[in-house]
Structure formats: structure tokens, C-alpha cells
Symmetry: C2
């Protein structure tokens, strides 16, 4: 233990009770962003957090108006030449329904059996507390941070981050940085320390197939015109092969191939196909040949129908050839696929395979970029060393199949590589009743964040840009 680490430990030991009490106070504020009646609570949580940041030693602390719930901004920029980090978290929480399934009141938090229990304990107030306390402890014991930090804590993550992008755009002037650290993810099954290195993006389209301008009698017209529903099925079936691969020409062109290290990282994740299959409740798993289940989920793009409709859906029968058929499709994308390009490729292919006798239209419905900060990225390496030094084990590397839209915002708007460094346990019940955070994750997490800032400082601006 270095003397610096020794001082940090002593400080954190000394202030444990106060720290935990404030964490619980933060959780008592029902800052549910999705329920308008809680707007005042969201603002209270923002003010509470701003006060905490000021007390910890952050500067330029501001509760910023966004048009919705405020963003709390703060910074500490006294490490000239060292890397600058944007830290992101969110102080808003999910609603509490179904309230009957909570064992205790969601906003009367408590600590028991090594866990902090209450709405927001894990997602994401606990992670914000980690950052605030790391800041405080470093400043208290060393007088200054080894890196420059800008904190951005929003209040609308659980209600679509409606105003965040505009706020980021409008605040570029004070968001210059080398890297973003987003703490809104967690550990792998069994509470094993992990870094999320990739998130998938999305490209969404709707396909509209039109036949005659009105429904036709299936007896009087059946056999002489194409049926838009059959035609839509033919188009959709042409999108993927029996090997699970997407047949759209060029679709995979920009996919970053898995390295041996990537595949080893996937293989290192404890995962059992049969257990997974049973938990999902399907008769068999299904996906692209040549990849494992976790690779398919984390490192390969997909094409899924989210909805399909056309014609008669009620009870009984209606013998029509419906006028039109419709499908909503989203592709999950992986680095470096571009949503706009994927949509264009998809449109071209759909029009190419569309059968005669119908009119087909493909509407772009938006998208989001995938995110990948590779295992061998210097920032990932720095975070990994910090985890190993504090949790005592090398982290696992996770590629999430889903998207965290704010991640894409930090990359696309601010141009920053993102390290997803979060500390929640996998059984945290986020978004569900009886949310809880393993207190040891929070406590060790504070040390990890402190160590990470040192590791990033040691890497240096040039090292991060490598």
C-alpha cells in the first residue's frame, strides 16, 4: 500500500458513516423523472447532488436548465497536461410499480445484509455517490485530482433523456475532454467485476407493401393479383438465410471482426447455453452460424421484426386479399456500422427482392450508432488495472446486446471514446421492486475510481490518443 493509498483508506474509513447516511438521504428523494408530479423531487435531487459536489470540492457547480429536469454540471480542472474526463451518471429513478411487490417502502432506504435497499440504490444514484466520494477523498487526502474532470449528471435517463442531446450540443464549450466515463452499467453474473466494452446501435425501418387500393374479395380476385401480406413475408424471408446471416449486400462490410483476444474474452465469461435457453423459455437457441451465443448477442448485428400487421386480425374469418401489409424492423448494429448506411442498404435490397404486383416503400425510422472501446484501448486498460488493483481480480469484458443511447450521444456529439465503468451487481433488480446495491461494490468502487484517475493520468493524453 502506497502512502497515498493509505491516506485514502484512512479518510474513507473515517467518513464511512457520514457517507452512507448521505447515500440514504439521496435515495429518499423520489426523483422519478417519468412522472410529472415528481418534477419537484427531481429538482430537489439535483440540488442535493449539487450541494454534495460543492462540499466534495467540485467547482463551477451548476444546476442547468434543460427545458425538462435539470442537468447537474460540475468540474475540477487543475491538472494541466493531464487527461480530461467527462463523467456521466443520472440522478433520476424509475417508477416504483408494482408497489405491492416491494418488501419495504421504495423511498425509505436502509442497509441490511451488506446491501443498500431502495429505489435508485443501484440505478444510478449509488454510482453517482461513488464518483462524488472518490472526488472528495482524493481532494481531502492529496489536495488535487491527477486528472481533469467534468461531471455531467442528468435527470431524464429513465424517461428517454429527452433534453440531454440538446444540452450537450449547447455546452460543447465546457465539455472538451479526452474520454468519457459512464457509470451506468454493472458487473457480470455472480457479481464478477467487468467492463462493458461495446454496445450495439440500432437502425430502424418500416416496410409498407401496397396492393390494390382497397381490400379485395379473396374469391373474386384470388389467384390473379399478388397478396401484399404474402409479398411482405417473401420480402422478410429473403432478408436472412437459413445460416442466420443477413443477406443484404454490404450489410457486414463495416463490422469490426472479432480478434483472438475478443473471442477469448467472450469465452472467459461464465455462460451456459442450456441454462440460458431454459431461462428465456424457447425450444432452441438460434443465430448466426460460426458464433457463440454471447458473440451473437454482443458482437454481431441482427435483423428483427418488432411488429407486423395487415388485414383482418379479429376472431373468425374474413376472406379478403388485404390492401396493404406493414412491418417494423430494427437491426442491432455493431461497430463500425453506420445506421444511415445500413438503412440505405436495407432499402435497396428490399426494393430489389420485392415481387411484382405490389408497391413497396421502406421508411427510415431512425437509428443510433454502435459503440466499441476495444479491450486493448488505453482507457480500457487503465480501467482494468484499477479494477484489478482494488477488487483483486482481472475484470471480465462484456459486450452488451442493447444500446445505451447516452453513450452514443457522448461519442457522436462530443467525439469521445467511452469507458463503461459501472459497479452494480447483476441481481440489483434495477427497474424492478426491491432494488438493491451491494455496499461492498460501492465502497470498493470508490477506490476503483480513484485508482482509475491515477491510471489515466499515468497513461497521459498522448497515451489515450494512441
Amino acid at each position: 500500500m502506497t502512502s497515498e493509498t493509505g491516506s485514502l483508506e484512512a479518510y474513507l474509513d473515517e467518513h464511512r458513516e457520514r457517507r452512507h447516511a448521505a447515500y440514504l438521504d439521496f435515495l429518499r428523494i423520489p426523483s422519478i423523472s417519468g412522472i410529472p408530479d415528481h418534477a419537484g423531487d427531481c429538482r430537489r435531487a439535483a440540488e442535493f447532488l449539487a450541494d454534495q459536489l460543492r462540499e466534495a470540492g467540485a467547482e463551477n457547480v451548476e444546476v442547468c436548465e434543460t427545458g425538462g429536469h435539470p442537468v447537474v454540471y460540475a468540474d475540477r480542472l487543475h491538472a494541466p497536461g493531464a487527461p480530461t474526463v467527462v463523467v456521466y451518471g443520472h440522478y433520476d429513478v424509475q417508477p416504483v410499480d408494482p408497489i405491492d411487490e416491494w418488501v419495504t417502502a421504495p423511498f425509505e432506504p436502509f442497509i441490511a445484509d451488506g446491501r443498500v435497499v431502495g429505489r435508485g440504490a443501484a440505478d444510478d444514484k449509488g454510482q453517482i455517490q461513488i464518483h462524488v466520494r472518490a472526488l472528495e477523498a482524493i481532494l481531502a487526502t492529496r489536495g488535487e485530482l491527477p486528472v481533469n474532470i467534468r461531471y455531467v449528471f442528468e435527470g431524464e435517463e429513465e424517461s428517454s433523456s429527452e433534453h440531454l442531446d440538446a444540452w450537450l450540443e449547447g455546452n460543447r464549450w465546457r465539455l472538451g475532454a479526452d474520454i468519457a466515463v459512464i457509470s451506468d452499467t454493472g458487473f457480470f453474473d455472480g457479481n464478477r467485476p467487468a467492463i462493458t466494452v461495446a454496445l450495439r446501435g440500432v437502425a430502424a425501418v418500416e416496410i409498407h407493401v401496397q396492393g390494390a387500393p382497397r381490400d379485395l374479395h379473396s374469391g373474386q380476385f384470388g389467384g390473379t393479383v399478388h397478396n401484399p401480406l404474402n409479398a411482405l413475408c417473401e420480402i422478410v424471408a429473403a432478408l436472412k438465410g437459413p445460416d442466420g446471416r443477413i443477406r443484404v449486400p454490404g450489410f457486414y462490410d463495416d463490422v469490426v471482426a472479432l480478434t483472438d483476444e475478443d473471442r477469448a474474452a467472450f469465452a472467459a465469461l461464465p455462460f451456459d447455453d442450456e441454462e440460458y435457453r431454459t431461462s428465456v423459455g424457447v425450444p432452441a437457441l438460434y443465430g448466426e452460424v460460426g458464433y457463440t451465443t454471447l458473440e451473437r448477442r454482443g458482437a454481431r448485428p441482427t435483423l428483427d421484426l418488432n411488429g407486423i400487421w395487415g388485414g383482418f386480425q379479429g376472431a373468425g374469418g374474413k376472406t379478403i386479399i388485404p390492401a396493404s401489409a406493414h412491418a417494423k424492423i430494427t437491426c442491432r448494429l455493431v461497430a463500425d456500422q453506420d445506421p444511415d448506411r445500413i438503412i440505405e442498404l436495407l432499402r435497396a435490397y428490399v426494393l430489389q427482392v420485392a415481387p411484382p404486383g405490389v408497391t413497396v416503400r421502406v421508411d427510415a425510422e431512425g437509428g443510433g450508432r454502435p459503440s466499441l472501446t476495444p479491450i486493448d484501448h488505453p482507457a480500457t486498460r487503465a480501467a482494468a488495472r484499477a479494477i484489478a488493483a482494488t477488487f483483486g481480480v482481472e475484470p471480465l469484458y462484456i459486450r452488451e446486446g442493447g444500446s445505451i443511447p447516452v453513450t452514443a450521444s457522448f461519442t457522436s456529439i462530443l467525439g469521445l471514446p467511452v469507458v463503461l465503468l459501472g459497479f452494480t451487481n447483476d441481481d440489483d433488480h434495477a427497474h424492478a421492486p426491491n432494488e438493491s446495491m451491494v455496499l461492498a461494490n460501492v465502497e470498493t468502487g470508490i477506490r476503483t475510481i480513484a485508482a482509475c484517475w491515477d491510471e489515466l493520468a499515468a497513461t497521459g493524453v498522448d497515451g489515450l490518443g494512441a
Copy 2:
């Protein structure tokens, strides 16, 4: 002109005014079977018709209770050794909406420009009048019919013939016959005399595809499980080939192939593909290779989706892998396809092509048999000769793409070959405002029916069975 024909003409000439007046009286009764308030009118129409039949010379005239609107039964069975014919028509009519589009009141009929105008003029009261007046004129001029006839005039055809099948079942004892003549069809475009020789049947199924028991997050699960919507599309796409042929093994086994005479009859129908395409409003016609549009519609089976649904259909997006997907499918069948067998073949094939990872169920949703009384059937030949003798042209032969459920009832319940001998003009506006019947069709139709009874008598029971 024979003397018999001469007497008939004289009789019909003499009673023209009275006949037309009674036709209009029949049309004045608003016997709308689908509207409960008109139940009394339906009964009035039945009583009116029963009186007409008695006056014409029918025996055993009875207004039969059915549980719904009554069936009018009557017979005249004094031609021992001659064929027995069941004649079918319906005295009920369609509702009058949209009432604003009627130029005159729908139940205040009149004759103008050679047409009888009013609800039911064509469908089907006019055709019933043809039969009643043929009966009356033959009995008045010759004392007896050349064949035995049982009249069955129902009152629920426009509201699904709900009670007809049960009534037929319960009255088999008085429905023994050699052939059924159904007068509820009409002439071809341009008011060209025609006989409908075939109707298609139906086989209906629903396909249900189940994935996980609940909707899944398309990011967290996408790529690892099959999507029921995609799977359904794959199944549906496998049902038909790009040649428009249905790929279900055995599907075409029982289809009666078109003879050279059948194809010549199709080719004789005045029909223009481009005109049809434009009227339907599709970019191209589409169907089974090797057949003309009319053959595809009248003589070949089809497989059409009537409805498809699954997942999210609202505005915007919802990134789910839906739990289940559903499709309603009907096949139009042609002789001698059996609906139950087709459903079994379809079920077996769907289960065979179903991809792994989902559970697929095929539910039978009922069916109806196709009907075909070939051009060279002795009864068709007899009707054709009657048309040629009275209208002065050889009839065209039509195969309708749709189904007339009562036709299947007469075939499946009573085991009778059916001749669809109807006289409406193609521009009759049946089911629509300003319904009308060309009076000459009625007048000549009376002669045709009379001639047809003679032709059937000449053919004889043995000839009909050939």
C-alpha cells in the same frame, strides 16, 4: 315454334301486365333479413310467395319455421319416371345503405327503360318470379310439368343462411331429387347469357408461432433466439414458389385438370387483362404460371393470407422480439379438392418447414367444398340448349372464383349436382344502391326455365346420372 311453345307464348303475352304488377308487389315488401326490425317483412314476403306458388299450381305449399326467417317449400310431383329438380332461390334482400345514393326509394319499385328498378329486383326476387311464372304458364297451357319440382325458397341468404343447413338436414325426406337448379347467379359482362359451372371452395387455417413466453428486449436477446415474426414470414414464404404455385406436397393432387373444352370456354369469355389490372388498381397481375387470369381465378386453387399480426403496431418504435406471431390463411379450392384433406396437408407442410427455435401450431378454421358441374354434364347441356333456344345464343361458361355456400349445402347435404342457372345482368347493382333487373332477362328467363324442364325431361333420369 311448336304448338306447345305457341300456347306458352300466348299465355305469357296475355298475362304480362298482371305478372309485372305482382313482381313489383313482391319488391315492395322490405324483406331485409339482416335487420331484426324487418323480421315481419320477411314473413310477409314468405307468405306472399307461398300464395303465388299456390295460385300458380304448386302443391304442399308450406311456410316452414326454421328458427329464423321461414323457408317456403312447395312441390309439383306429377311426372312419374321423369327427373326431379330442387329449385333454390331466396326472397330476402340486402339492406339499402347508403340510402342517399338511391335515385328513388328502394322499396318503391318501377319499370323504366326496360328495367325493373328496386331492392331485390335482381337478387333474388326477380329470379324467383321467373320460376313461379314458368310453373304457372306450363300448368296453364299444358296441364302438367314435364319434370317433378321441389321449390325451396329461403329467407336468410343475405344474412349467412344461418338455418338453411339444419332445415335441409331435417327435410331430407321431402327433398329427394336428381339435380338442383340454383337461380342466384347471372350473365357475363355485356349481359351475355352464361351458365356458372364452377364455384371455388375454401379451406381456412390459422398459424400461430410462439417464441419465448413474453416479449424480449431486442438488444439483450437479439441474435440468440429466433424471432416468431421472422419465423412466420419464412413459413409463409415457403408456401408458394416464385412461379405462383403452392408448394404444399399433394396440394394439387385432386384438382380436376382443365380439358380443351374448358380452356376454350375460358378463352371465349370477353376479357382484357390490362383493363382488369387497371380496374383492380394494381401495378401488375400476378398468379400461377401456365394459366390465364380467368383460369387462375376460376379453375385453380389459391393460398392467400387474410391477416397477419404480431408485436408492436403503434406509432413509433418498440425494440422487442415479440413473443408470438399469427396469420390467417384461406385457400380457395377447386374440384375435387377436399377442405379437410387440404388443411391436413397444409398443417403437415407448415410443421415441416417451420424453423427451429419456435413452436408452431396450425389450427383448422373450417372450409367448404368446391363445386363443379362440368360443361359436358347432361344437366349443363340441357340448360345450355334451353338458353340457346330462348336467348338465341349459346351460353358462355363461367367459373366463379368465389363460393356460394348454399351450393355446397345442396351438394354435400343432399348429394345433388347443381346447375347454376341465373339470369341477372352484370350491371344489376346487387347489394348496392339502384338495383335493377333487365326485364327482358326475366321474360326470356321464364321461357328458358320452361325449356330447361323439357330438356331435362328429354334427358331423363338415366341420362342425368350418366
